[in-house]
Symmetry: C2
Subunit: 340 residues, 2 copies
């Protein structure tokens, strides 16, 4: 019998097909492209092919926009939003609009075009995470921005147009809808129970164990109860913290370890699948200050990893109604048992 | 300057890139498959290849599960939900689940495997729409079902696995999340303004005219102000009605005409694009009865047509944050001006 399962934070019902669950081998592998070195704007030596860098971890003696860097942040050459200008909120009859002000940056994770994130050593992954933190903190000084969206598209099906390993960041003057739903869900749960829903989920996942993928001293990786996609994994910190950018230096390395192990397991189980990951964090503090806000207690930042094993049909986007052919329990079991 | 636009019903912000808008010719055409006649379970003569039919428009002298039909409804051979059993709602710690009870039916729109919906005459399209109404009305007699989802996937990228023209129907014991958001948005607007948001949108669209695609006596087709996808079109009835299945016989033909013209325009402008359409209607009456419900005034059923011209990246699904490279005004202008 298939099951209908409800996401406890946002209230979405998902059909989980439990009878003939799809196994890792049921998903066709997707080819990973190797970028052409001469045309790869993210390669070392091609720094002139990107707009001037915003930030980099680079050798002390090296110069900006030259080689000898480890992580490099540049503006997206085709940004979805523009950095200059005023927001100019405006009504148009019943409609609301504003100027598309924002930042759109690319975080080049390594000079090596073929070294995937999970193949880097833990401290190098930590440097990428620290870059996220540094850029978020910097951009949040700009009071026009309400939310900093950090995400990674790996593979063409997942939306990446350049094969060289990179993540992206979009600073927006609005809070993305799905994040807002999570904030509201977490706040309402806290108002009702006086407990954080994220803490309750973590406790139940650790106690049940059937959906756990990996744990270390700082983080728990699990397949969510109402997973929309096969082999979806969430990474949640054990410590209550609403804002990703408040991550401690020791937590950065623990997150790097959890991310490395989880992505390695996915790569091994599913033959290097294309995926997206998304950092879910609280919006800028000024967006919800006030004496009534419990956000520091009720919301917890977390990372969602969504492997792209199936087509996303417009039906699912149009209705918000998902059919997942693999139970999270089966997916977690596969991932737990794969040695890395 | 790109624009951020807010969907007035559900409150979603969308980035609309206005500078270098994508034109119809910028989207690569996708091949449409012709099903192999011998293996096509929806072809006339192959009726034995489907489960027994639930309903059909067929010649008076013909027999069920034989040839000589115009529209045929059969259970989906690989249903996402099961028709037999009890719902058995159950908690599991903080999680909620229920049995995957429901119906999953296929509406075969024509015996001709190569005759697309918009290529049929208006009265034949009307027969397909009447089939939706008949099946919805029938299934809503089952008090286990809260919502009847009618949709069409056209093309493999849009999720169709069989090339023969067909729509689908899923009866579920829960209301899909996106529909619930629309119901809440419409209810809150009505509570605040004492007007229907759908009526207000329609009035503004007709008055502004820039996003209109087609109008007849019963229906208005327009590209929504905060379109998530290029060439997205919404069809809304002029008459206030929350429930699709309350459609009048004369409205069925008007809807058939509006659907035919809109789909023909899309096919011509975009070289027969793959698409999804979704009927948005109110949930079963018992799901929201009570003296406080204003649903008959505040909500209006409508059809969304979502061409699949671009990849849906997990990023967009994960965040609810969309980037649309074509303004709805440009899209509507193209579609308005294309003669059909």
């Amino acid at each position: 019998m298939p099951e209908l399962r409800k996401d406890p934070v946002v209230g979405r019902w998902v059909i989980v097909a439990t009878e003939r669950g799809k196994r890792p081998s049921d998903f066709a592998p997707q080819p990973i492209e190797t970028p052409d070195p001469a045309k790869n704007p993210f390669a070392e030596g091609n720094e002139h092919m990107t707009p001037p860098e915003i930030f980099a971890f680079r050798d002390p003696k090296s110069k900006p926009n030259g080689p000898n860097w480890q992580v490099r942040v540049v503006p997206n050459k085709f940004p979805a939003l523009r950095i200059e200008g005023d927001i100019d909120k405006e009504g148009q009859g019943i409609y609301d609009k504003m100027n598309g002000i924002g930042a759109h940056e690319v975080i080049i994770e390594t000079p090596n075009p073929n070294l995937q994130l999970e193949q880097q050593p833990v401290d190098a992954i930590g440097r990428v995470i620290e870059t996220y933190k540094i850029r978020m903190t910097d951009l949040l000084r700009d009071s026009r921005f309400r939310y900093i969206l950090v995400f990674k598209n790996f593979g063409r099906q997942a939306g990446a147009t350049i094969g060289h390993p990179h993540s992206q960041l979009i600073a927006t003057p609005v809070t993305p809808k799905r994040l807002k739903e999570k904030l509201v869900g977490a706040m309402e749960y806290y108002a009702y129970k006086d407990r954080s829903i994220f803490e309750d989920i973590l406790k139940q996942e650790i106690k049940e164990g059937s959906r756990l993928v990996y744990e270390n001293a700082g983080f728990v990786a699990y397949c969510p109860f109402a997973s929309r996609f096969p082999f979806e994994v969430t990474l949640t910190p054990r410590r209550q913290a609403a804002y990703f950018q408040d991550i401690h230096p020791d937590e950065i390395l623990l997150l790097a370890d959890a991310l490395k192990v989880t992505l390695q397991k996915l790569a091994k189980a599913l033959n290097q699948p294309q995926y997206n990951f998304i950092v879910n964090t609280a919006p800028a503090r000024y967006a919800h200050h006030g004496f009534w806000s419990t956000i520091d207690q009720d919301f917890r930042w977390h990372i969602e990893i969504l492997p792209r094993l199936m087509l996303i049909a417009g039906f699912e986007v149009g209705t918000g109604f998902y059919i997942n052919p693999t139970t999270p329990e089966e997916a977690a079991k596969y991932l737990r048992e794969i040695p890395v």
